[in-house]
Symmetry: C2
Subunit: 598 residues, 2 copies
């Protein structure tokens, strides 16, 4: 989900859109250009058989763990479900790593949002804005967006082709401004925001441009292609020894489960397949994992993490903790020309990673996996509530003024001060509060400040998954959490369609089912739930780890590996993939991984 207009940096675009939107809502429609009006005037959802449909319409933003799982579990007899998401499929992320090396195929870990027997509707687009009062969202189509399928890291360079492109000829064949981004409104009865996060780069120099990420299927595809390409390059008789060493040095940044599992998969590929296909290259290969922290896999007990680190050493994966990556650039290490003249650099041959501790190191590929950062949709589009949604919102506390005429106040969406995530209650409802500073300015009335800070929740707007933080305490940004949240919300909405009854329902509690990570060589580490049986909720460390470290049932080695595979098979995958994934495992066992590169 994302904001965009006319060549401005994304956050400015966001602001711009919000402004235009505000005008619109205050019914100064004349300000809008003709094409814009036409877009807005389009009937929201025309299908005829739905005209007599009395079901409530639930619009879900996002097709990740939270959004997809929720859509599958909402009762189609009670709800008409519409997913709005830039990508038309769900990625089974725990197995995405396996596709980067060919242990699984890409489609084995994808579930199309459109399915033969599913009643879920779908629109492919980015949500640009939400109108809480009139209950609609604004959607920008993403069908032709080349970024879809890749991890997103922040505002992009404006793509010439896209700005005077995409749909506007189709839309405005009559011939209005070519720079108008086409959008259209989609109405909702209930809205669920499950847009997830972008990838964090900490603004490290060159990372956005030169690193590969591991969040979506096209990332995995690009990595697989690159790995095989590097070996093919290194086989050319004209490549000098030193360059081979650079090309076959694989760097991974981030010692969380994603980075560690990728290292494990890569080392499997090299041991099982590359060793037979390119035996003469083995001596050049190096895998290095960098982490800024003193310890990898922080969510595991020390004994399990130590066991994992030992296994990695045996597989020739160097783990360099307490290393700060300062830059990632194209070109050879210690090449002053390259450092000066980035623009002239050739694309994609040798890269250089620079750490504070070691300086320049030549590499062929850098996979970057250092966690999440906030989605611009959350950060910008949901910044201000332009009009207080009187009918949808329930004021829970606040000064007399707030209750009497809430629209005299500038309401904002409650969010975590540190991370900017949406702060939600245990019913996943979006909460509102007022911006004291803006209030004072707008109303010229400093007295508002003396009232208790008003609070409200929106009855028909929910948020869950990585983009949110529970008021009762942060949960890790994992598939397990998003999955449980979605299941809870689906069950609660199916049982209590009415907001009042829903509000009476007991809130969500997270049940920590443990955490596991594949560590290569058919081994895994598996840390069971803490002995208390539940927990986690309310005492999270907030940064990718499962909270409680009280010793539960732990497994390691091949037993953990078997449990790991078994667990995944029983999970969210469709019957198609439940059928194909084990077959693919057998095929890899029998015939090796497929190394065709295309």
């Amino acid at each position: 989900m994302r904001l965009r207009a006319l060549g401005l940096p994304r956050w400015q675009r966001g602001r711009d859109l919000v402004c235009r939107q505000t005008l619109f809502q205050h019914s100064t429609r004349t300000v809008l250009c003709a094409s814009q009006r036409r877009a807005y005037a389009t009937p929201v959802e025309p299908p005829q058989q739905l005209k007599n449909d009395t079901r409530e319409k639930v619009v879900i933003l996002g097709s990740g763990w939270a959004g997809y799982v929720l859509s599958r579990h909402l009762d189609p007899k009670k709800y008409r479900v519409l997913i709005v998401s830039p990508r038309s499929y769900f990625v089974f992320t725990p197995l995405l790593n396996d596709t980067t090396v060919g242990t699984l195929e890409f489609r084995n870990v994808l579930e199309s949002v459109r399915k033969r027997n599913s009643k879920v509707e779908y629109v492919q687009g980015w949500a640009d804005d939400v109108n809480f009062v009139d209950k609609f969202i604004t959607v920008e189509p993403s069908v032709l967006d080349p970024d879809v399928g890749h991890a997103l890291t922040g505002p992009r360079k404006v793509n010439e082709e896209r700005t005077n492109d995409v749909l506007e000829r189709t839309l405005h064949a009559g011939g209005t401004s070519k720079t108008q981004v086409p959008t259209f409104p989609v109405s909702y009865d209930k809205l669920v925001i499950a847009v997830g996060c972008y990838s964090q780069t900490f603004n490290t120099k060159g990372v956005r441009e030169n690193a590969m990420f591991l969040k979506d299927v096209r990332d995995a595809q690009a990595i697989r292609r690159r790995i095989l390409e590097l070996f093919e390059l290194a086989r050319l008789p004209i490549i000098p020894e030193e360059t081979k060493r650079y090309l076959l040095h694989f760097a991974i940044v981030g010692g969380g489960p994603t980075g560690m599992e990728f290292a494990a998969c890569l080392s499997d590929l090299i041991r099982d397949d590359i060793s037979r296909l390119h035996p003469q290259l083995l001596k050049y290969i190096q895998i290095t994992l960098y982490d800024v922290a003193p310890k990898v896999l922080p969510m595991f007990d020390a004994s399990l993490a130590d066991y994992a680190v030992k296994q990695y050493k045996r597989q020739n994966v160097q783990i360099k903790t307490s290393h700060d990556v300062e830059e990632l650039r194209k070109g050879f290490p210690n090449d002053p020309e390259a450092r000066q003249n980035q623009a002239n650099q050739v694309k994609g041959r040798v890269y250089t990673i620079r750490t504070k501790q070691e300086g320049d190191v030549g590499i062929g590929l850098c996979v970057w996996s250092t966690g999440n950062k906030n989605n611009p949709f959350i950060e910008k589009a949901l910044n201000h509530v332009r009009r207080f949604p009187v009918r949808s919102a329930q004021i829970t506390q606040g000064g007399a003024t707030a209750v009497e005429n809430p629209n005299t106040r500038q309401w904002i969406i409650e969010r975590d001060a540190r991370s900017g995530s949406l702060l939600i209650d245990d019913h996943f409802r979006v909460n509102l509060t007022t911006d004291a500073a803006i209030d004072a300015e707008v109303n010229g009335d400093p007295d508002h400040g003396h009232d208790p800070q008003p609070h409200a929740y929106v009855k028909d707007v929910f948020a869950l998954g990585d983009a949110t933080k529970l008021k009762s305490g942060a949960l890790p940004a994992t598939a397990q959490v998003a999955n449980q949240q979605a299941l809870w919300l689906a069950k609660a909405l199916n049982k209590y369609p009415d907001p009042e009854a829903f509000a009476q329902n007991k809130g969500f509690t997270f049940r920590n089912l443990g955490v596991f990570t594949y560590i290569g060589g058919a081994k895994a580490v598996l840390q069971g739930p803490p002995v208390s049986g539940r927990g986690g909720n309310g005492n999270g460390n907030g940064n990718g780890g499962v909270a409680s470290k009280a010793s539960g049932l732990n497994f390691r080695g091949w037993i953990a590996f078997l449990l790991w595979r078994g667990a995944y098979l029983t999970m969210t995958l469709s019957w198609r993939n439940k059928f194909l994934v084990p077959i693919q495992w057998v095929a890899v066992k029998l015939f090796g991984r497929d190394v065709s590169r295309f």
Copy 2:
């Protein structure tokens, strides 16, 4: 295979390279720049365990039906086999159509040239030139070439990134000219030219830029993506009715087996899957197949072809024969602005196909399949034999002068006057003759003209597959022919490594095994071999069809379909794919085609 240097159109590049090469061979080495010398000075093949290798080295150019099959059947005890090909895999072309709609996955029809247990070596690159005297070829790496995996149609626009890119920094880190294309030599004992053909566009306006082809796996990938994209686009609420009709109009040009099978696969996809996923779009869908000839499937008996055409009609595929396509462009039909201003056209939304008979028609996708055209490597690089390979060539006829001192003549490679294909004898040897015109000019001796035209064959250079024509008569450019040729050559070389014995061996004859085509709806047409049992060789129609039309055993309908599937399963595919293809067929039957688009 292809020629390239420094921003010239390809054929000029070819010429340029040839000239430089000629200089080099006449040992005016000082003309070459430093980097060039370095590239040439690189030891040809260093692996140590091969230094004592006494086997003959067979270099195969190409990894298609001819090259790949040959490489698998040459005896590794007798030959060291090296494939040089721009793409690192073999495509099982008869099933490529199935991957465009998801009936099979891409990797199901690919065989990597590098295999775990194979002794075949491989270098990923384009052959640029052949030196018949010193017995080496010149190779330009293609590892990073973005064109690899796509059908090639002719000289490309110069890719900025590629020209100052690819490998030269890696190569010439010292810092010589950035525009030098790196090449390296590869020596051979026997050379097999199996480079195949490019795709024919007849220079129809806009086809190269706007059509999709169906020759390689990335073509299939692009088509699959585009088909699903068009349906997703048409589902957006902002797309007007008329535009939906354009977007969902699929045009296919070429009524040969490839075009017809693609139409069949597309209609299967629509009937089985799209009808359930997008029922509201069915009314907009149209499939039209254009052919300039009055009849499609010309290689089949009239009764089978008529049956096929009837089936297509039932599947709502319109077949428009005797239609001349004049242009394919981006933009809406009958839009004067679009016709004027191609550069401003938006990319890839609606296309317009213009035929002489019907004028402009709006479409969403055009798949172009009108046969083969000559490979520039065949056309240009092999144009002149700079020095007569005295030791390798056997002069079979010719004037006394030719035999006494063949280097006084300008020898050329014998080729078909009309198509430019290499003209080969029934042992697949490349043949030489002299260029009378050049001879006269060089020697100032018109008497040469009175001698019988000299002829020779090269004992250690073979050619087979689509790029060749047998002297005894053209065979169709099919997988069946290339496959049989490769098997014959492998067997003959394994049995008679010595050229003299090889020459005594009985030549190749083609055994027509019949021809079949899938026509959709689990039906096929299968025309058995002509009653005489053999034939074809010598009476081909030369243009994609199997020659003889004497009535043999014909099948049609689902029986032909079952035979068709069974036949493919027993063919060239590896055990991996023999295992995975039927499973994929079952999965599609049970769960439908996968429609994830990424």
